[in-house]
Structures are given as structure tokens and as C-alpha cells.
């Protein structure tokens, strides 16, 4: 998989995703792209803009308005050798497809003893921070990561968005591809080759005192927090998970063993969120190097707030800094019962 010349240069994440789709459609005749409004309109976020015109409506097309139908037919198409890339218009609108995803897309390869392979990519614009009304800002990763058979990835940069989407399409496993909505318009340099393989987390900033762990839209926030922490004399290492499932224990645990402290950050509600797994497995793996319990900075355990209140819900640089402060750099004291970074 090689980048074509124009891919280098700066692109918004939406444009990078569009480029990745175009390059895969060009490189592999088996790729089809469909969903609600992805054809003529080019998607409500314009991620599929121009693709129907360039590749024709047999390969890029609008489907009827039915998410279970979109995923269910993608399964059938994949059984026949196609590599469908389908879009769920917003997180919460993937829920009607939940049964098709969990009972079939995730399991059919195993259930058929490997005879059926389902290289389906489900693109899900995820997370909030764009002033969207209810049901448009969910972070649904926890539902997918608990489902064996699915790969769940979330790029945090435009360059990763480009390369990871191409890797997702080339991958023979079904992939839930989480696109951080609020990064869609941020322009960034697209590197001429992938920053890491599809299974790997990445150290975005090296540090020695604490490891900050996140993915998707949180990467920008984590880097800001690391910058601010540096000003306070704390050297924070920032890890971009990139792949939530499977999980890259080596990179992440490696960092935490060095720093002895960690904070996990995501927008989704804290309770039984993906951060819980990160905390649990890192504690299992790094217990004797940990100087303090791993902190979590997450959304509250509430339905996603309306636009005017969402700022209170989303992890902020300040909350991350507070969480770092609670990691007992000065002296060792126990946390009051049940008070984690988000208070969950």
C-alpha cells in the first residue's frame, strides 16, 4: 500500500479520509462505498465527496435509510468477495445495526471456522464537541471493543486517518472505524507513509513522569495538557492508542512501567467505559511500578449533554492537569472512596 504523490501535503481529516477512500477504490476493484447520503451529496461531512462521480454509482451509492440493512447487506456483499466501506451517519445511528454487528459481522468468521471472511469497514463519525443536538455526539466505542471479532480503531490525526482507513480497508477483519468529528476540519500534514502498523499505539510525545493515554479527538487535548504540564515541571508522555481493540500492551505498558504514573482520557462516560479496561490491564501489568492509581478523566455518567452544556462534560486540559496532580507526586495518601478524576 503506497501513497500517491498528492497525498503528501496538508489536508483536513475529512479530506484525508476522502483521499483514502479514493485511493482504495482505485487500487482495489472489490471496494464499494455506501450508506445514507454518501453518494450524490458526498456525505453530511463531505467525506465521500466526489467519489460517486469518479467511481460511478455501482461502487459508491446512497442506500435506503436503514442501518441494520446497510450492515446486513455489507455482510452479504463481503461473503461474495467485496470489501464494503459503509457509513453510519452519526454514532447513535449505528445502534439499529447493533444485532447485525455483534451477532454476525463480529462472529461469522469464527462461526464458519474461518471459511467466511468479512472485510467490512464501518465508518462512524464519533464523539462531540461540535455543538450537535442529542444522539449526534455519542462515543460508542465501549460497545464495540467488548465484542470479540471486531477491530476498533480511532485515528487522532489527519495523517493517521488517511493511513489507518487504508489499512482498515485492506484488513480482512471487520473494522469499526471511529472518526473524531470535531477534528474533521483540522488541517494537518499527511506523512508519506504510515506512522505505525495497524496494530500499534504510538508515543506522540516522549516524557518521563507520567503517561497520558487517549485516542481520537483527545490526542490534541492530551498534547496541550502535556505542554502545560511541562510548564509546571512535569514531563508527560502522550500515547495515542490508535487501535483500541486489539490493544497494544507492549507500547502502553512499556511507557507506564517507565513513568510509574498514568491518566487515561476519553469523552465517553467513565462507568464501564473503555478507560476501565485500560486501567485494569495496565494495573495488572504494571502494578509494582505504579506510584499511584491510574487516573481516569472521562465524560460524566450521563446522557450526552445539549450543545450549550457539552463543554462541562468533555475532558479539558485543566481536568487532565488536576488528574496529574492527584497522582501523588509529593507524598503518598489514599484517595477518598470512589473519587476518580471524573468523580465516577
Amino acid at each position: 500500500m503506497t501513497a500517491i504523490a498528492e497525498q503528501t501535503g496538508t489536508l483536513s481529516m475529512a479530506a484525508a479520509l476522502n483521499r483514502a477512500l479514493a485511493d482504495e477504490l482505485r487500487a482495489d476493484q472489490r471496494v464499494v462505498v455506501y450508506g445514507e447520503d454518501v453518494g450524490t451529496l458526498g456525505g453530511v461531512f463531505r467525506v465521500t465527496e466526489g467519489l460517486a462521480t469518479e467511481f460511478g454509482d455501482r461502487r459508491v451509492f446512497d442506500s435506503p435509510l436503514a442501518e441494520a440493512g446497510i450492515v446486513g447487506t455489507a455482510i452479504g456483499m463481503a461473503m461474495h468477495g467485496l470489501r464494503p466501506v459503509v457509513e453510519m451517519q452519526f454514532d447513535a445511528f449505528a445502534y439499529p445495526a447493533f444485532e447485525q454487528i455483534t451477532s454476525h459481522l463480529a462472529k461469522l468468521h469464527n462461526r464458519s471456522r474461518g471459511m467466511i471472511t468479512l472485510p467490512v469497514v464501518i465508518r462512524v463519525p464519533f464523539g462531540g464537541g461540535i455543538g450537535g443536538v442529542e444522539h449526534h455526539c455519542d462515543s460508542s466505542e465501549a460497545y464495540w471493543v467488548h465484542t470479540p471479532g471486531l477491530r476498533v480503531v480511532a485515528p487522532g490525526t489527519a495523517s493517521d486517518a488517511y493511513w489507518m482507513l487504508r489499512q482498515a480497508i485492506a484488513c480482512d477483519d471487520p473494522v469499526i472505524f471511529l472518526e473524531p468529528k470535531r477534528r474533521y476540519w483540522a488541517k494537518e500534514e499527511i506523512s508519506p507513509s504510515s506512522s505505525a502498523d495497524f496494530d500499534s499505539a504510538l508515543i506522540r510525545r516522549a516524557g518521563t513522569d507520567v503517561t497520558l493515554i487517549g485516542y481520537g479527538a483527545m490526542i490534541g487535548t492530551l498534547l496541550e495538557a502535556a505542554e502545560a504540564a511541562a510548564a509546571e515541571g512535569i514531563s508527560a508522555e502522550v500515547i495515542d492508542l490508535r487501535t483500541l481493540s486489539p490493544f497494544d500492551d507492549e507500547t502502553v505498558a512499556g511507557s507506564v512501567r517507565r513513568t510509574g504514573r498514568a491518566v487515561v482520557v476519553h469523552e465517553a462516560s467513565g462507568f464501564a467505559g473503555f478507560g476501565a479496561e485500560v486501567v485494569a490491564r495496565l494495573t495488572e501489568q504494571c502494578f509494582h511500578q505504579l506510584q499511584a492509581p491510574i487516573g481516569r478523566v472521562t465524560g460524566f455518567d450521563i446522557p450526552y449533554p445539549p450543545p450549550m452544556l457539552e463543554a462541562h462534560h468533555l475532558p479539558s486540559v485543566d481536568r487532565i492537569l488536576d488528574a496529574i496532580d492527584r497522582l501523588q507526586f509529593d507524598d503518598v495518601v489514599a484517595l477518598p472512596a470512589g473519587l476518580s478524576a471524573s468523580g465516577s
Binding site: 447513535a92 443536538v133 442529542e134 455518567d301 462541562h312
Partner: protein, 359 residues
């Protein structure tokens, strides 16, 4: 299970209509609403459209997060509401602001969801109007459940649920139509077929000649009407409500109409439809045609018309000033009603946020 006469369940091949695009009477006299009703329909459509254009203007001023205009769909939204009794329940979508205003809900409360200070601005029980539904087709099932519960309670309440042409493709719509028919629940399914689901035209949504053809497959009458004719909307919805109220079960109504504005202010309709098409539909304007009819029938004179327009302006003015005041929000609301009683964890989280805001 009583035997069903299939043929009766199929819609008329052509949409039923009482007042055509030229404002001429065309149909059976007996189903024509009274003059008073027609005047009221006209008045409310004028008010509705002015509300709608005001909301669009507020969006341009950044006063609303998003607004899905229903300009062009006045006849469906207003006439359906006028046909309902107070005790009936309305299940609207994000598209149905005019219906809700017509239902008597404070326009500011109707816009709360779209302004973004909360998910719902009004008391659903006060107005017997469910929260505006965004996940498509999901409200069809709520309507069936509520209507069935009312019937079990011996009430003669009817539920009217609004959905779009696109929403008919969702599995929930199918399950709702089927369950309503099996339970003979007093529900009216009003499909506002405005030809598009965002950018997707009806031809990519269904292969059926008409969506109302689905009725027979559930053993329920399917009715096809001109959705820009307030008179036939009122007449057919009244007929369907009466049938439901008297134990005759649910009805599927397909009203042919058109969304004049883009899907929302965020949408660019020029990407998927032509101005010519819009012009065609502007020529079938629901207010114009009823107005013509009322004027030729001498039910409405210049004075009356001016009165209605003045009322509309006054209301729009009130809405504008009300919306120009900043919305009052309280972060504590975030934790208040997640559970009937806030859990310990939520009390801790509320305290955490309060401290943060005090700091």
C-alpha cells in the same frame, strides 16, 4: 380476527384532494371541512410559516444550533394537529415545529432542542406531545405503546405519529405498523412524503408506487393524499382518528408534499435537486391555494387576511425578542434526571463539577 376486505385497504391510485393547486374545489363535498375549520387552517398555516421563517432567520443569527425548516409542509403539520382532539397524543419529529406551535406549545419551548439549552423544552404531558424525535422511526413504536395503553385504560385517546418518507425504510416503522394492526391500537401514522431523506430521493428509498401501498401488508388501510391540500389532510386525518377512536384500528396516511428549504440550515440542497423542481412545488403552495379558495368563496376578505398577517408578525416579533435573550442553563441539570433519584456516583460527579465552576 375479523376477515378483512383487502381491496378496501389499498389507497386511491391518485392522491385524494379537495382543493387543487388552483384553489378549485375538487372532490366529494361531504368530506369537505367546515368554513370555520378552513379559515382556521389558513390562519394557522400563515402563523406556522411565519414562525418557520423566523426560526430560519434566528439560525442565520446564530441563535439556533440547527433548524430543520418545514416550509412547504404547512398543510400536513397544521391540518393534522387541528384534526386532533386535546386528549389525543402527538408524536412529532425534529421536522415538525410548525405542528407543535399549532398544538399550542410555546414557540421558544419548541425551539429549545434546536437552540441547544436542553433536549426538550416543554412538558410532554401538558400538551400531550412527545419529545421531538431524532432517531428516525423510533417514535412510531412509542405512539403504538401509548395508544394501546390508553385503550387498555378505557380511554378513547388516539396517538398520531409523524414520520418522513425516509423513515419508512427503518425496521422500527415496520414493527410499529405491524404491532399497531395486530393490537388494533388507535394510532394514525402520518407519513409526510416530502420526496427526500436529506439528499436521497424517494426512488432510492422505495420501489413501491406509493408508500400507502404498505397498509394492506399489515391489514390496515393505506390512504394517499395531496399533502399540500390542508382540506384533504384535515378530512383524512379526521377520518382516521375517528376510526381509531371507535376501535377501528390504525391507519397509514401518505401525504405528498415538499420541503422548500434545505434539510437543515447546514444542508446545501442544490447538490441534489434543481431549482425547477422547487419552482414546481412553489406553484402548489398550500397556503396560496387555500387562500384562493377562501377568497373566491368569500370566506376570507382583505381585512381578515391582514389580521392574520398582523397576528403572524406580532408573534414572530415576540419570538425574535424572546430568542434574542440568552438561554439560561444550569449545569446541575446534567445530573438531575438521569435516574429518578441521583445515584451516589452522580452526586459526587455533580459536586465535582460544582467545585470546578466555583473555583
Amino acid at each position: 380476527m375479523t376477515v378483512i376486505n383487502d381491496a378496501a385497504l389499498l389507497p386511491s391510485p391518485q392522491p385524494r384532494c379537495l382543493i387543487d393547486a388552483e384553489g378549485q374545489f375538487s372532490g366529494q363535498a361531504e368530506t369537505m371541512p367546515s368554513d370555520e375549520v378552513l379559515l382556521e387552517l389558513h390562519r394557522r398555516m400563515v402563523l406556522g410559516r411565519r414562525f418557520d421563517s423566523q426560526a430560519t432567520a434566528l439560525t442565520k443569527q446564530g441563535r439556533l444550533a440547527v433548524y430543520p425548516s418545514s416550509r412547504g409542509q404547512e398543510a400536513c403539520q397544521v391540518a393534522a394537529v387541528v384534526a386532533m382532539a386535546e386528549r389525543d397524543w402527538l408524536f412529532p419529529t425534529y421536522r415538525d415545529s410548525m405542528a407543535m406551535v399549532s398544538r399550542g406549545i410555546n414557540p421558544v419551548e419548541v425551539l429549545t432542542l434546536l437552540r441547544g439549552d436542553w433536549h426538550c423544552g416543554y412538558d410532554p404531558y401538558l400538551h400531550r406531545t412527545a419529545t421531538q424525535c431524532t432517531p428516525l422511526a423510533t417514535n412510531t413504536l412509542h405512539a403504538v405503546g401509548l395508544a394501546h395503553a390508553a385503550r387498555l385504560a378505557g380511554e378513547d385517546t388516539v396517538a398520531l405519529v409523524m414520520l418522513g418518507d425516509g423513515a419508512t425504510s427503518e425496521g422500527d416503522t415496520h414493527e410499529a405498523l405491524n404491532i399497531a394492526a395486530v393490537w388494533q391500537a388507535p394510532v394514525v401514522f402520518l407519513v409526510q412524503n416530502n420526496g427526500y431523506a436529506i439528499s436521497v430521493p424517494l426512488a432510492k428509498q422505495t420501489r413501491a408506487a406509493r408508500l400507502a401501498d404498505k397498509g394492506i401488508g399489515y391489514g390496515m388501510p393505506g390512504v394517499l393524499i395531496d399533502g399540500n391540500d390542508a382540506a384533504i389532510v384535515h378530512a383524512s386525518v379526521t377520518e382516521a382518528i375517528d376510526r381509531a377512536r371507535s376501535g377501528g384500528g390504525p391507519t397509514l396516511i401518505e401525504a405528498l408534499t415538499y420541503r422548500i428549504e434545505a434539510h437543515t440550515n447546514a444542508d446545501d440542497a442544490s447538490r441534489y435537486r434543481t431549482d425547477a423542481e422547487v419552482a414546481e412545488w412553489l406553484a402548489r403552495d398550500p397556503i396560496e391555494r387555500l387562500q384562493k379558495y377562501l377568497q373566491t368563496q368569500r370566506f376570507l376578505d382583505e381585512v381578515g387576511l391582514v389580521a392574520v398577517r398582523d397576528e403572524a408578525e406580532a408573534k414572530a416579533e415576540r419570538l425574535r425578542s424572546a430568542m434574542n435573550a440568552d438561554a439560561v442553563t444550569d449545569p446541575a441539570d446534567l445530573f438531575a434526571h438521569v435516574y429518578a433519584e441521583p445515584t451516589r456516583a452522580l452526586r459526587r460527579q455533580a459536586a465535582f463539577l460544582a467545585d470546578e465552576l466555583d473555583a
